[in-house]
């Protein structure tokens, strides 16, 4: 019983500190979704370690310019993200742009893509990954 309580207590403490860290990163990341962009109203995050990759699917609607912001740690350029189409083609990787913390995607036709995010192993071994998305009217 005492062991169970210890485990629960430790896991709650770990979760609490992780939440706090993600919150701080999110506050910084929000600065990249500037006033020209309407936030999509969602908050994407995951804790990563080593070469783990976080991913999620999303639909990018035609005729829209999206801004994607990707943050981790206490400075820009730590999170690498890729935009991959349903056939596995990489449509964009911020790795080719010096790990840019944000990028715009101007979408001609609606497509379903997968967003992948991983820590740059030369800059971080673990941390909270936060991604935010906004779009222009």
């Amino acid at each position: 019983m005492r062991r169970t309580l210890l485990i629960l207590s430790l896991s709650a403490s770990i979760a609490g500190s992780a939440q706090e860290m993600c919150g701080t990163i999110a506050d910084r990341c929000e600065q990249h979704i500037t006033k020209q962009y309407i936030p999509d109203g969602q908050f994407y995050r995951a804790l990563l370690q080593g070469d783990e990759m976080a991913e999620f699917n999303l639909t990018l609607f035609g005729g829209t310019t999206y801004r994607v912001a990707a943050c981790s740690g206490d400075a820009d350029g730590i999170l690498v993200f890729n935009v991959v189409d349903k056939d596995g083609n990489v449509l964009f990787s911020n790795k080719d742009q010096g790990n840019a913390p944000y990028w715009d995607l101007a979408v001609t036709n609606t497509i379903d893509v997968k967003m992948e995010a991983a820590l740059d192993p030369t800059k971080a071994g673990s941390g909270c990954a936060v991604m935010l998305i906004g779009f222009k009217k």
């Binding site: 485990i7 896991s11 770990i14 979760a15 500190s17 992780a18 860290m21 993600c22 919150g23 999110a26 929000e30 309407i38 936030p39 999509d40 109203g41 969602q42 908050f43 994407y44 995050r45 995951a46 804790l47 990563l48 370690q49 783990e52 990759m53 976080a54 991913e55 999620f56 699917n57 999303l58 639909t59 609607f61 005729g63 829209t64 310019t65 981790s72 740690g73 206490d74 400075a75 935009v83 189409d85 083609n89 449509l91 964009f92 742009q97 990028w103 715009d104 101007a106 001609t108 036709n109 609606t110 497509i111 995010a117 971080a124 071994g125 673990s126 941390g127 991604m131 779009f135 009217k137």
Partner: protein
């Protein structure tokens, strides 16, 4: 954002404790790291932050409202949800889906420049937000800012987007994934309802395509609501969405890859791939009926 399976949680907890007890965090000093979280000892934290280790994205209701306006669909205020429901919603599921529904209605009224309805909807959002203990996101200050910017569509959309993102962040930070998922579900259903309820929608190919393009979002939504519904409170919503999913299964699509073009100076990549969806008239009719059923169930 998926990372590891939920079954690793127990193992991760034990491993984390073991490594912590053994001073296992020394590995951290082996390489340069700017992030201070010592997760070497906590491989289960991803599960603590996500629903079943996965992350989902649901299209913003604002985008749908803008698409409707662009297609020239008529603004029909009477289609929006009765604002009295903000008082009537008594349980968590009803309040959460209503918050999403009102968010979609707010976008609808805003892009159609109905400032009076937008303001009234924002007040209803504040009420429901209070019930869900989201006063950090939907407060009096937001209402005041909204009121003083009623003439600026851009500002209103920005304010509401920021507020809903803050609410989503707060809910996820506080492990209230069920509420977060149901807010998204309510917003998504209401957007679709407003779209399909216009008789002209069926004759507008752009709008029909937009409806068909929701297939993947619906798949994500079903998974999200189901995974986060720990107490079974959203069972009816899950059943309704699954029935809708079976109708969307008949929607077909094509995709052709085209080389994207990047303008590094403008920090922009132009994605030129093409796609199309095909949705038969009888399928569309069935989808319209099911969306209406689910929306009515959410507001009942």
């Amino acid at each position: 954002m998926s990372v590891s399976s939920p079954s690793k949680i127990a193992l991760g907890l034990g491993l984390g404790l073991f490594l912590a007890a053994c001073g296992g965090s020394d590995h951290q000093s082996d390489q340069p790291k700017t992030d201070t979280l010592a997760v070497d000892t906590t491989p289960k934290e991803t599960e603590l932050l996500n629903v079943g280790g996965r992350i989902f994205s649901i299209p913003s209701p604002v985008q749908t409202a803008l698409a409707m306006r662009k297609a020239g669909l008529k603004y029909q205020k009477e289609l929006t949800a009765p604002l009295e429901n903000a008082e009537a919603a008594v349980n968590k599921t009803a309040q959460s889906t209503l918050l999403g529904i009102l968010g979609a209605d707010l976008a609808y009224a805003t892009v159609h420049k109905d400032g009076q309805r937008a303001m009234a909807t924002m007040q209803a959002i504040e009420k429901v937000g209070n019930k869900l203990e989201l006063t950090n996101s939907f407060d009096r200050a937001l209402l005041d800012r909204f009121k003083s910017n009623l003439g600026s569509e851009d500002s209103l959309l920005q304010f509401s987007g920021v507020a809903f993102r803050a609410a989503d962040k707060y809910l996820k930070q506080n492990q209230r994934h069920d509420v977060s998922a149901l807010v998204l579900a309510g917003g998504w259903i209401e957007s679709l309802y407003l779209t399909v309820s216009d008789p002209a929608a069926a004759g507008d190919q752009t709008i029909v395509n937009r409806i068909g393009e929701q297939k993947n979002a619906l798949n994500a939504l079903v998974e999200l609501v189901q995974a986060s519904d720990a107490d079974g409170g959203a069972e009816k919503v899950v059943v309704g969405l699954k029935e809708l999913q079976s109708l969307f299964d008949k929607v077909t699509s094509t995709y052709t890859y085209q080389e994207p073009v990047t303008d590094a100076g403008k920090k922009t990549t132009f994605i030129n791939s093409t796609s199309s969806v095909t949705i038969a008239a009888d399928q569309l009719k069935a989808i319209v009926a099911k969306v209406t059923d689910i929306r009515n169930m959410m507001l009942a």
